[in-house]
């Protein structure tokens, strides 16, 4: 399969959205582009599985073009199981995000263009095997994030947009410094940004440790590494619904994927040196995020802080450095992406009807809007790790992988992280109970309508993903397992 298709579709979609005269055509173009991309990613999944079944190893469907030959910057594309999983997640979230924004009234053309551009950045990031190209696409995705919050946001939107942009730009500086430092440690002085060649370099251990710190912390900020997580609650809460979905469902995953691909895979000595620190920080993020979520009264802040907690599982899985845990980290990225996008979509649906996000001002909403209430239960139950839904599969895999490390430190970290599930259950059930169950709190809410067709469609796309992962986790585990193992095998920490 030609991977440039995955970049060509969003580029053409972007052009169509911008060039078509009316807002109605623009949103249909955005939806059509997102749907075609979803179809393309499903074809990619089937082709990838077929190629692996035929004995294909490592990165498949590779293609290479020169981009800036003087500095050996190339346009090297290729995918492994982890990237295929992330691409699938992105396509699902993009389709749902476009659908949820169907009635966007403020500058709709630009809005859909921003969504498409953010998607393009993510697809480019996930298919790039060249560090520079990867960095380029990472930055490409920051611009629409800023604009989505600053132009279409609510509340303290300028503050949140600035904070997000500055913190992510600061993180990008760390990543760029790390990449440049890596270039200067090229063994024969021959720069290359091609990860398949860098991985064969023999970089001295202490250099690896230094560079790992820069790259991992940089990408860590994107995925809410404690204590660099404070852009998450403000950014997610101020963003418009689709913006929150894209931030939590796609943007934070760029960080997790980058940590794994650019830091752990390329710099194994750094991963071994920093592993325990990552475990420590992620356990703090998991528990602390969960407890802070308990105290939130705004639905969006609840989901945003719970994202800090859930993304902690991604970093925990990576820090444990075992096959099951790293595979679990990838599963958690997919799971969290789907269920948190669904949660933000539902919160958006509730907000446009009730004009409030305060839990205390709602109650009994299940009567006027049963469909939306069921969706909220589904997202919440997946969030607290109910078996049969996606969260259980991912968190279980991280716990099993964490337990494989038989030191007291790693095992107590695993136990502490597992205990957060109880706290998650408390805040999820309290929030859903207070807003959806019981008698109607505000009689004006009795006349509210249930989900419209586009909202139902958006929710069904994400629900299908959550159920496909929760009820039949085998296919996804088979997809990411071998490549998670390939990363960990370089470290020598996992039992075979």
């Amino acid at each position: 399969m030609n991977l440039t298709i995955l970049l060509a579709i969003p580029v053409l979609t972007l052009l169509a959205v911008l060039l078509l005269p009316g807002a109605r055509q623009a949103r249909w173009a955005a939806l059509a582009g997102a749907a075609v991309q979803l179809a393309a990613s499903l074809v990619l999944l089937l082709r990838f599985r077929a190629a692996r079944a035929d004995g294909g190893k490592g990165f498949l469907f590779q293609m290479q073009h020169d981009w800036y030959p003087d500095w050996n910057i190339g346009f090297h594309l290729g995918v492994d199981g982890i990237s295929v999983a992330m691409i699938l997640l992105t396509t699902l979230v993009v389709v749902a995000g476009v659908l949820v924004s169907w009635e966007e009234a403020r500058m709709p053309k630009t809005f859909f263009a921003m969504l498409t551009l953010l998607g393009l950045g993510a697809y480019g990031f996930f298919v790039s095997l060249d560090l520079f190209a990867m960095f380029f696409f990472l930055e490409l995705a920051v611009v629409p994030k800023y604009l989505l919050i600053a132009l279409w946001g609510s509340g303290r939107k300028e503050y949140s947009a600035n904070k997000l942009a500055i913190m992510l730009m600061g993180a990008s500086v760390a990543i760029l410094m790390g990449i440049i430092a890596l270039m200067f440690s090229a063994p024969d002085g021959q720069w290359t940004f091609d990860m398949l060649r860098i991985v064969e370099w023999d970089v001295p251990a202490d250099t690896q440790v230094t560079i790992f710190g820069l790259i991992f912390i940089g990408f860590g900020v994107f995925t809410a590494l404690f204590p660099f997580h404070t852009w998450v609650p403000d950014g997610h809460s101020s963003a418009p619904t689709a913006g929150s979905m894209f931030l939590a469902g796609i943007s934070m995953k760029l960080g997790g994927y980058g940590c794994l691909r650019a830091a752990v895979w390329l710099l194994p000595e750094g991963a071994l040196a920093y592993g325990d620190a990552i475990v420590g920080l992620s356990v703090i993020a998991i528990l602390y995020g969960a407890f802070v979520t308990l105290m939130q009264t705004d639905l969006k802040y609840i989901n945003a802080y719970s994202s800090v907690s859930h993304c902690g599982f991604v970093l925990l899985g990576i820090g444990m450095l075992t096959k099951a845990a790293v595979a679990g980290a990838v599963l958690q990225m997919v799971s969290h992406g789907l269920m948190t996008a669904l949660f933000f979509a539902v919160i958006g649906m509730v907000y446009v009807r009730t004009h409030t996000r305060q839990v205390a001002e709602m109650g009994g909403l299940m009567k006027p809007m049963p469909f939306i209430a069921v969706l909220m239960f589904l997202a919440g139950l997946s969030s607290l790790g109910l078996p049969g839904l996606s969260g259980f599969v991912a968190e279980m895999s991280v716990f099993v992988g964490g337990w494989e490390r038989d030191t007291a430190f790693h095992r107590s970290a695993t136990v502490l992280a597992a205990m957060s599930i109880v706290v998650t259950a408390v805040y999820v059930l309290r929030a859903i109970g207070a807003t959806m169950m019981g008698p109607l709190r505000d009689q004006a809410h009795a006349a509210l309508t249930d989900a419209a067709w586009y909202e139902k469609a958006a929710a069904l796309v994400l629900t299908a993903g959550i159920l496909a992962m929760g009820l039949a986790p085998g296919w996804l585990n088979d997809l990411v397992g071998p490549d998670a193992a390939a990363i960990v095998t370089r470290l020598g920490t996992s039992t075979p």
Binding site: K163, P227, T230, F291, V292, L294, M295, Q296, V426
Partner: protein, 83 residues
Amino acid sequence: MRDKFYFDELYLFVTKEVIFRFIGAPAAWIDRKVVNGLVDLTGNTALKVSDAVKGLQSGRVQQYALFFLGGLIVLVLLMTYLF
């Protein structure tokens, strides 16, 4: 049995009086005031510093000439006393 062995009361006491008050509330306070406070402090310090130094970019050539002259004197003094 009428009071369900006070399980509901026990549960409410543990969650509301212990977990919420002694763990949740301090954690939320720390996050907003300390962790986020440091982020805001960094941003506000940058603003204050730029506010303090923006006067240097006055556009007045005489002032630039004064800075140039002052710098020259400092350099000359440094050169004379250090080397």
